[in-house]
């Protein structure tokens, strides 16, 4: 049986955060991670990353947007038209 490659193993570890893997996937990954310290580290760091991304400070940082595009004057006028008292 061919050993799983890191490209596949890392993909499965990522996929696993979204839902359970198949038995075959889980076994292949388990076997790969016995030997691969790099992929074990990767798994720990994406767990960490997922947690960090849902902290309040990150969510707040995303509430502030840079204005890179502007509404056209006609769109603004159209919106104002829709605002009847």
């Amino acid at each position: 049986m061919l050993m799983m490659k890191c490209t596949q193993a890392t993909y499965l570890m990522s996929k696993e955060t979204e839902g359970p893997l198949t038995k075959k996937e889980r076994f292949g990954l388990w076997l790969h991670n016995i030997y691969c310290v790099h992929c074990r580290r990767f798994r720990a760091s994406i767990t960490l990353l997922k947690r960090v991304l849902t902290t309040k400070s990150v969510k707040t940082a995303f509430d502030d947007v840079e204005v890179t595009e502007r509404l056209t004057e006609s769109t603004k006028a159209k919106i104002k038209d829709a605002l009847k008292s």
Binding site: C6, T10, Y11, K15, A44, S45, V58, A61, F62, V67
Partner: protein, 192 residues
Amino acid sequence: MPSPSDVVKGFVDTYGDILFNFARSRVSQIDVAEDLVQETYIAALKGWEKFSGNSSEKTWLIGILKHKIYDHYKKSKREVPESHLQKNSENDGIMDYFFGDNGYWKMSPGYMNETPESEMNDKQLAKWIKDCITKLPEKFRIPFILKEIDEMDSDIVCKDCEITATNLWVILHRSRLQLRECLSTVWNKEGV
């Protein structure tokens, strides 16, 4: 004494671009973003009496917009088409950067402590992460933000971004590879 209608019309000039850019950060279609901004202002006018002034006008308007965006996703009944984004076709260079031709890591991903050793405070780290996410490829950014920051359900993200579940996993995976790297450079004191 200006009428509520006049006040909210004023908000269109003051905050219109901000709301539009926020909508564009969550929704890729320009016309949909414009509609959502319009719906936000209409709702703001309806709810003007109830606005207590506890938060700033900007925060209040963005709050309404977020609800409109979420409602939009829930209503989105588009059939997910045969996607143009195949598993390995997008050569964004991300996989090649981290893995050799043989499929193994080129360099060891560094070890990251549970808590950051970095001297950055939470706010600075958050800004760093946001900048890293902004550097993600265009097609990855919105699905990633919706899923990982806004914590939306996968099926809603897939429907709105018109991608399959597999596409989403691939996008999340490649984005995480890039972000993990970006984060690790500031997480540990010595860097990795």
